[in-house]
Symmetry: C2
Subunit: 385 residues, 2 copies
């Protein structure tokens, strides 16, 4: 046995082996009644670890300035307890040493990250990204940061994203649900935490959570009335999944318009799809076989409306002569496609801005009142109708 000294009495006598723990020999000094191992070299100490990240910490500044950490922290935060001299000295020193505060540590003690999280279904179209722009602009003005997670229209990804963000990463959550989110238990579970949640665009009906959405019902009613005014009687309606609130609302608006103008509803003219390319094509092809023939297609998805125009053109169907096509949303592609798409502008950017404003109001004033706002849009008539 190598001469092992007891760390207490410094004597090598009366030392016994005392088992192996995690592959390391342990010893026992009978004199001192003390168990120990020979300490490993890589034990963390403030010296070695400071070099670990390469970043300067408050401690580094304090040491070179010859003051306490508290003083440095206060100087950098303009606390009145610190003399003007010390303050400016510390500040210039921090600058020199390129100090940048560790936000994790700050957030941990402040219990706030000054960051709001956004969960959004996808960024493949300008539709959602323009909401994002609105959010970011409002946030930037208030000094908040934005982090974005794409759920990719996948319910489980949405859940994973929520959990990741809600575990103290953000001060508030802005969420727009996936196409397939029909249960909101995952959200309800998070509601007992102190962090406010605001839903936007695609919202849940019954949860007591603030929500900002489009005027789906009135909008759809306006669109259908526009088609009826153009003389359409056989209006096919392309809808999203039944669970989706926007599907329900827009259908309702459509039905109201029909009813008001005495147009009878043909259930065959309603199609629920998941907005995928083939499902849309199939739905349209099915409509085209109907008799009496349809004279309009109203797609509650702008993207699908554009796709439908392409499909009809391939079939040599004249737009708007034979069939009028209208979308809902107002995206950039609607202006590019030929004929240009008539659509309902849901003012996505404003929805984002307003959702963010409501969030900031809750964060800053601590006001936890549940608000439910509808952003009014407007019809944009173009060539396709």
């Amino acid at each position: 046995m190598p001469r092992v000294k007891c760390p207490k009495c410094q004597q090598p006598e009366r030392i016994l082996k005392s088992g192996i723990v995690r592959n390391k020999q342990r010893y026992y000094c009978k004199d001192c009644d003390y168990h120990f191992v020979i300490p490993s070299a890589r034990k963390r100490t403030r010296e070695t670890s400071a070099r670990d990240t390469g970043a300067t910490s408050l401690r580094d500044i304090a040491r070179t300035a010859g003051v306490s950490i508290a003083t440095v922290s206060r100087a950098l935060h303009d606390h009145p307890d610190i003399s003007a001299q010390t303050r400016s000295f510390i500040k210039s020193l921090a600058d020199e040493m390129n100090y940048q505060p560790n936000m994790l540590a700050q957030s941990l003690v402040n219990r706030s990250t000054h960051t709001i999280g956004v969960i959004i279904p996808n960024l493949n179209t300008t539709f959602f990204s323009s909401m994002l722009s609105g959010i970011q602009q409002v946030c930037a003005r208030s000094g908040y940061r934005v982090v974005i997670c794409q759920s990719d229209e996948d319910h489980n990804t949405e859940i994973a994203n929520i959990q990741a963000l809600m575990n103290n990463m953000i001060d508030g959550l802005l969420i727009c649900h996936t196409l397939h989110t029909d249960t909101f238990e995952h959200l309800r579970m998070q509601m007992n935490k102190r962090i406010p949640i605001v839903q936007f665009y695609r919202v849940s009906e019954d949860l007591p959570i603030s929500k900002i959405h489009a005027d789906d019902e009135a909008g759809a009613e306006t669109v259908t009335e526009h088609l009826i005014a153009k003389g359409c009687k056989r209006i096919a309606l392309l809808l999203g999944p039944k669970n989706l609130s926007i599907t329900q609302k827009r259908l309702k608006g459509h039905l109201q318009a029909l009813k008001r103008h005495g147009v009878t509803l043909d259930r065959k003219l309603l199609a629920h799809v998941d907005f995928s390319h083939e499902k849309v094509t199939r739905a349209v092809d099915h409509w085209l076989k109907l008799s009496p023939a349809i004279d309009a297609i109203f797609s509650i998805s702008e993207k699908c409306a554009v796709q439908i125009i392409g499909h009809l053109k391939k079939k040599k169907i004249r737009i708007p002569r034979q069939i009028r096509v209208v979308g809902f949303g107002n995206e950039y592609t609607g202006e590019i496609v030929e004929p240009q798409l008539t659509t309902y502008d849901v003012r996505t950017r404003e929805i984002g801005e307003e959702a963010c404003r409501v969030m900031l109001e809750q964060l800053i004033s601590g006001n936890r009142e549940v608000v439910d706002k509808r952003i009014a849009g407007k019809l944009i008539v173009r060539q396709s109708s």
Copy 2:
């Protein structure tokens, strides 16, 4: 003076006032030689503060389980030191109490957030968002999270985003610079930190940082050769700002193609723009006045190419009869516009994926080798040429 007791000797005698600090009366006990204030009620204690956030912590679990915090932590991490009984007990308890680890605290001690940050110029087109999709998909497979910041093509926002993210929020940074980023000092300053950086698509030339980009030079050469093959002699080239690496590379490719095929360059056919709507329109209008007339427009921005098609159509110019138009990038809008746009597919998604792969390789294996990869794209010929 109210009867104030000394916290040490519990006697109200011999207590003197000793100044006011921050609006609070201070006292001094002559017996104990001890200064004190009457402590404020809202002093933080583990009891009150635990309730503060409403979240269960390891301490809460430890207390109700009657074990130490260390044991709980180890049980949840399947550390072998913990007995099977204890482990399953703790786990079920944690489940019951709806425990979710505080990621800030975890990251602080682990020095890793398991998150990679992406800074991207904008999300207004599918161009960048498809890179994002690639990034997210690769990340998801490795259990990393993604946070996204939009710089909005603004240099200062880019700097602010970098600083925010690099202060310990992320393990690695993926960045695509703004249109106007011509100095990279802000990036160089971050390079001494341990956080790896990978540039993608728009990269800097001289910084020793890993980069993934398109085959800009070869791509542009291919496009121009395609136009030459179609008989074009007067090819106008719409470029981005001169500082941009993609501008330089694509121009170089264009020139090579001209040279190889003996087409002489007319400097009037080159235009540098910031991709804004009016600048592009102005450039095109200027070209249209030239003589001999131009017979093709090659825009290195896909979005501008689509815009140019719209502009030429408005002027009743036949595409591709009078002027052939080609873009670079391959976005969704290129398929929608009429005539459909010939373009060079830069495989944006693959660029994102590869950038992310390189990053993960650096994070996981610790390999800090600087890589510089070009993703090969390919020409997509459509109606506009």
